[in-house]
Symmetry: C2
């Protein structure tokens, strides 16, 4: 094993991060988000359930500080020299009195950082109030500054090397969705279909393997589709049920998420077809705004116009920046595709636009992960967009194109097809 | 879908938790650990990547407060009435200025909790310093008290209904390890074997399905085994490599983790067989202490005696309480099997004893998840313990029993076999 990128890539990232540090007056930066740690050092391991950090001083290599049993993993995956891979005492792990950050404070003092302006994470899953308090207590002369997602923002524009991995992740995503379409047959248990899907996600393609995603695939069926974050059960799939998948292929921790919806049975209900038609139209309208110089808010506004015309409501944002991810989230926690978000789109920014419509008793999702190109947009995974009809009773599935065409035909037949969609929505 | 347990089970849990609240002078308890939220309410969804809490007042039902798009999931999985399932405004999600906890403070005031002694989580992955500060600012007249893992400790002794689910999880664990033994053949990519393993984990058994585990399976091969928390790569498995798996079957979020090691090839190296022999002896010595009235520390001491005699060092604790789990951890963060831990063992406590030996360039793991029985101990998964030899070149695998017997025979042939194991260890 070795770090995924060459040293120049990591050097460019450090330069970008240090520029932001200087702007905020941060002399020493603490990172505890595993995605940010990976971005800065290459570190990759499922060890984020114990305290661990990467420290970025004003000059020199970053320093990885974690648990002793994870030194082996850090040495296999980080690009830094061994002197900058440091373990805290094992006995402090999940101890009622001692805390690893007691030791980390000493390490800071040893390296001359005890009186610096130190950037602390305040909204990261893996740096708790207890960790923060322990580290501050251990270096009383440091001045704590809020890092405010500094590294997350540095990740927003990807390098070409990162885009290459996201495209590979999209190949895995395509394979996962293909498996989903084949697996969701009436008479099978949801968990058996989930097993097929997870197998494809790990195995990847013949050219390269897959990796675990920051979220489990959401594969609700029937009334479970009214919820946005359910995984699967061991209930038997029946004809006459709707389902969706929200999943991501992953390559070296880079994600390319995608959602698609299906109808299991011979004839999709009208409200599902109508929602499908509105969502596809809204998707196209939003993507038409995805180009350098426009803002995230402009994409959301274009989507909203289509919804308003159809009389459909959805309160939640329609997307977020994506890239490196670790559980529990493949979002980058920075720019959102949401009204009022003024982030200006630039080439090689990557977003997951997720159009989830969670109704009373049923739901529908469709999404694209896209890259802002020099002009316009590149959707990473090539999967036809519309509702897929899986007529398991006849042992065959209808192409998404045909389902979409049918929906469009229906939409044409009536002037304003979506106005009749069910009233109650909380999407 | 419906809550997994009957209302009486949840009522008993609340009684237990309220007793601890009273002892700490907590009038209103905030829980943000998804395992604790599940324990109290049944809530199950992959929504812990946004702020969400369960609140336990002194009397009445707990209250679930989360994101609007997750209301559907909460209503499908929680046992409480709809009045106690509440959403904060969607626009606050991952917003640069607003925070969901601003709203939660108002909800607290509305319910008359604004001046109470409120228990705040301080060491939970999903309640960050920013969330804590926002909620405190939103109810300036409340008195904040550290909850100090109060609900985690309530989970330590399981009910019979919980044990039933953990035994079912162990059936899935057995199936996963069986798949691992069959999948790890020379010439295959690690990711393809990982795919087989994840399929079994989700599909479960013919009787009931599996669920996602709080940790991905760790399936390092070759020099990756020197690290404790690596998952898999797409490298090709070769004859002459060691590997281990650490995994867990899951049933309704209840885990039964297990680790086993293999040698891929005709003839395991001596240091691996010697480590295997020492670990098995230490495992038996520790399990002999696993009975009501003994302490966690006594189990660790029994293990340590075996290690000392063999001249082998391992600094990390050898286990922890386990049960309900969500990413990133299936440990309960309470009692540890570690020298000095004075937790007294009681019937229906459940632990994962994990003996991981991470050497310089290679590693070995073996573990058991066990229940303290009325007298002695019940290991939940029935998987032979010793090193498994997988001789893929000959297309067959040697039974663990035979490998263990061989190791024992070797051990007998020399007086102190393990003394010659490699010097450098950092386990």
């Amino acid at each position: 094993m070795k770090p995924v990128f060459d040293k120049n890539e990591y050097a460019r990232r450090l330069t970008k991060v240090r520029k932001s540090m200087a702007a905020k007056g941060i002399e020493v930066l603490i990172e505890a988000d595993p995605a940010n740690m990976n971005y800065l050092t290459g570190y990759d391991g499922w060890s984020f359930y114990v305290p661990q950090i990467v420290v970025v001083p004003e000059a020199g290599e970053p320093v990885w500080i974690g648990r002793g049993v994870d030194l082996g993993g850090a040495k296999l995956t980080c690009w830094m020299s061994q002197a900058n891979i440091v373990a805290y005492p094992e006995v402090t792990v999940q101890h009622p009195v001692m805390h690893p950050m007691d030791f980390v404070g000493q390490e800071f003092a040893r390296r001359g950082w005890g009186r610096k302006r130190v950037g602390f994470p305040v909204d990261c899953y893996y740096f708790t109030p207890r960790a923060s308090a322990a580290l501050k207590a251990a270096m009383p002369n440091a001045r704590a500054v809020d890092t405010d997602l500094l590294v997350n923002w540095a990740r927003l524009v990807k390098s070409d090397a990162e885009i290459k991995l996201m495209r590979q992740a999209a190949r895995v995503t395509e394979a996962i969705v293909d498996t989903y379409y084949k697996a969701m047959l009436p008479g099978r248990r949801q968990c058996d279909a989930a097993g097929d899907i997870l197998r494809t996600a790990a195995a990847g393609t013949a050219k390269f393997g897959g990796d675990y995603a920051a979220c489990m695939p959401f594969i609700p069926v029937g009334d479970q589709t009214q919820a946005s974050h359910l995984t699967w059960t061991d209930q038997v799939i029946k004809s006459g049920q709707t389902s969706y998948i929200e999943c991501s292929g992953v390559r070296y921790r880079y994600h390319s998420p995608l959602a698609r919806s299906i109808w299991i049975g011979p004839k999709p209900p009208r409200n599902l077809l109508e929602t499908n038609a509105v969502v596809l139209e809204g998707m196209e309208a939003a993507l038409a705004q995805a180009k350098p110089g426009n803002t995230c808010g402009m994409m959301a506004d274009a989507w909203q116009k289509v919804l308003d015309r159809a009389g459909v409501k959805k309160e939640s944002r329609i997307g977020y920046a994506t890239g490196i991810g670790y559980p529990p989230d493949w979002g980058e926690h920075t720019a959102s595709l949401r009204a009022g978000d003024s982030t200006v789109l630039k080439p090689n920014m990557t977003f997951h636009m997720i159009l989830g419509m969670w109704m009373d008793g049923w739901g529908f999702e469709s999404s694209e992960t896209f890259r802002i190109a020099d002009r316009g947009v590149e959707c990473l995974a090539k999967v036809p967009r519309g509702l897929k009809v899986i007529d398991g009773a006849r042992g065959k599935s209808q192409s998404a194109g045909r389902a979409k065409a049918k929906a469009k035909a229906k939409a044409k037949a009536k002037t304003k097809p979506a106005r009749k969609a069910p009233k109650r929505r909380r999407a």
